[in-house]
Symmetry: C2
C-alpha cells in the first residue's frame, strides 16, 4: 500500500491508486444512450472504481439489465432530473453526461429547488492534462464555464484546484496565475492586480497548503529554463502543478491546443456541485471519458 501516498503523476497511476485503495463510487450516467459513453462506463466498471447507475431508455435497459443498476427515463430532460434526484437522495456520488445536451443537464443541476448547486457555491470546470512533454499532470481552470472570473470565483478556483492536487498526493501544489506578462497591469488587465492579493492570501494560508504566484506567463510557469532566461524569481520554479487562466478564452485555447496539437490526454469535471459532474463532449475520446470518471471518483467527497 505504499504507493497510496506517493504523488499520482499520470492517469494510469490514478487508476492504479483507485484499485489499490478500493475507492469505488456510484456514478449516475445521464441518458446513457451513446456507444462512446457506454464504452467508457464499461472500462470504469471493469477497472472496479465505478458502480454505474444507467439512467436510460427501455431499449438500453434491456441490454444492461442484471449488469448495472438501471433507472428508466423517457427523455434526456427526464434523465437529467432523475439523475440529479439520485444525488440529492445520496444514491449517486458523481454524475456523468451521456447523450444529452449540456444545457439540458445544466438546467437540472442548477434548478434552485431541485438542483445540486449549493447556494453561493461557485460552479467551475477543472481539467487534468497529461502532456507527453511535461513530467507530471497539469491541472487547469477554466476552459468552459466562467467567462470572466471575478476575484471571488478565482478564489474558489484556487481552492478546488488545491483540493484536486491534495487528492493526487501533491502535498504543496504550485499554482500559477496566468497572464501574458510577468508585470501586473491594472489598466488593461485589472485581474493582474487581483493576482497580487491572491498571492498574499495564499501565503497567509487562506487556501491551505499550496504555493500561489503570478502574474506569470504559461512558459515561465511550466519551464524552469524560460524562467531563468527571463531572470525571474518565482516559487513556482517553472514546475506548475496547476494554472489558473485569466478567462474562458485563454483557457479554451489552451484546452483545444493541447488536445489538438500536443497529444494531451485529459480528464475533466465540474466542481461546485454537491458531487463532481463529468461533462464530456461528443468530441472527447472514450479514454478521456474513462479518465474523467476516475477523476470524479477520486475527488468525490460524497459518502465519506
Amino acid at each position: 500500500m505504499k504507493n497510496n501516498t506517493s504523488r499520482i503523476a499520470d492517469f494510469s497511476q490514478l487508476v492504479e491508486n483507485l484499485k489499490e485503495t478500493g475507492n469505488k463510487k456510484n456514478v449516475a450516467i445521464v441518458w446513457a444512450e451513446d456507444s462512446h459513453t457506454l464504452e467508457a462506463v464499461e472500462m470504469a466498471y471493469e477497472a472496479g472504481f465505478a458502480n454505474p447507475i444507467l439512467v436510460c431508455s427501455q431499449q438500453t435497459a434491456e441490454k444492461y439489465e442484471g449488469k448495472y443498476e438501471i433507472l428508466l427515463a423517457d427523455s434526456p430532460q427526464d434523465a437529467s432530473e432523475k439523475a440529479v434526484a439520485l444525488v440529492r437522495e445520496g444514491r449517486a456520488d458523481a454524475l456523468m453526461k451521456g447523450f444529452v445536451n449540456t444545457d439540458v443537464l445544466l438546467r437540472a443541476i442548477l434548478d434552485k429547488e431541485k438542483g445540486i448547486l449549493p447556494k453561493g457555491s461557485v460552479l467551475t470546470h477543472i481539467t487534468a492534462a497529461k502532456l507527453p512533454t511535461y513530467p507530471k499532470l497539469l491541472f487547469f481552470t477554466d476552459p468552459a464555464v466562467i467567462p470572466h472570473p471575478t476575484q471571488e470565483q478565482r478564489m474558489a478556483q484556487i481552492r478546488y484546484v488545491t483540493d484536486f492536487c491534495h487528492a493526487f498526493h501533491i502535498e504543496q501544489p504550485k499554482i500559477s496565475l496566468i497572464h501574458c506578462s510577468e508585470k501586473p497591469d491594472g489598466k488593461h488587465f485589472p485581474y493582474t492586480e487581483g493576482y497580487l492579493e491572491l498571492k498574499k492570501m495564499a501565503a497567509d494560508g487562506a487556501f491551505g497548503n499550496c504555493i500561489v504566484d503570478g502574474p506569470l506567463d504559461l512558459k515561465t510557469s511550466c519551464s524552469a529554463e524560460a524562467l531563468a532566461d527571463k531572470k525571474i524569481d518565482s516559487p513556482i520554479e517553472g514546475e506548475a502543478d496547476a494554472v489558473i487562466f485569466p478567462d474562458i478564452e485563454a483557457g479554451n485555447v489552451f484546452y483545444k491546443t493541447i488536445t489538438l496539437f500536443a497529444a494531451a490526454e485529459t480528464a475533466a469535471v465540474l466542481q461546485g456541485t454537491q458531487v463532481p459532474v463529468v461533462l464530456a463532449s461528443r468530441g472527447d475520446t472514450v479514454t478521456s471519458k474513462f479518465y474523467s470518471m476516475a477523476l470524479a471518483t477520486i475527488i468525490s467527497k460524497s459518502n465519506k
Copy 2:
C-alpha cells in the same frame, strides 16, 4: 522557377523561395551585441536573402568590418534611433531587434516625429507557426501587442494576415475568428457580434481574396473531424491558414503552448510599421530568429 508560385508550406520552403526568386533585403540589426542574434544574422547572410547592416558598438564593428555594413552606435537607445533613421532614409527594408529592450526599440519606432509608424496605422504582431501535427503553416495574431483589439484593429489584423498568406502564395486564405464557442454571445463577448460583421465584409471583398469565418473555436478551425463532430458548416473546413485571437491573453497562451508543448517552429514580425520589425526575444531560438528574418524579407514591400 515553377516552385515560385506554389504554396509555401513550411520554413524550409520559405528560405528556398527567397533563394530562387533572388529576394534580398537590407536588414538593420539594432544593437547587434548578442551571439544568438549574430548567429541568426550569419545564417540569413549565408542563405543570401539578407544584407545585414549592423548598428553596433565599436567592439562588434571591429569583428565584422568588411563582411557586413556597419553603423556605429553608443548605446541601445542610440542604436534604436539610428536604425529607425535608416528606414526613413530608405536604406533598411526591415529591422531586427538585437540586445536591446523591447520598450527602448519601440519608443524609437513609435516616435511621432522621427518614428516609422505611419499616422493611423495599426501596430500588431503576426506569427507564422509550423506545427509537426498540422500540414501547413498557421498564421496568427496577436500574442504580444494589442491587449483587446477594437473592431478597426481586427480589420487591420485580417488585412495583414491576408497579405502574408498571399506572399506565401496562398491564393484564398481561410481565416478563422476565434472564440470558445461557435455561438456569438454579445452579452459576455461583444466582439463575437463584431465577428459577424467582419465575415460579411470579407464576403463583400473588403479584405481582398480571402475567406473569413467565425466565431469558431480553435479545434473546429483546425480539425475537419472536430467540425464534422459538432455538425457545423464552415467555409474554413477545419483547415485554417490563419487564426485571429480575441485578445492578447488567448494569443499569448497559444504562442507559449505550441512552442513549449507542441514542438512548434515559429517566426514573427511586427506589422503596421513602414517596414517589418523582428522583435525576437531572448528566449527564442536562433532558428526562430533566422526564420523571422526570412519572414521579414518576404513581406517587406520596401524598395519594390
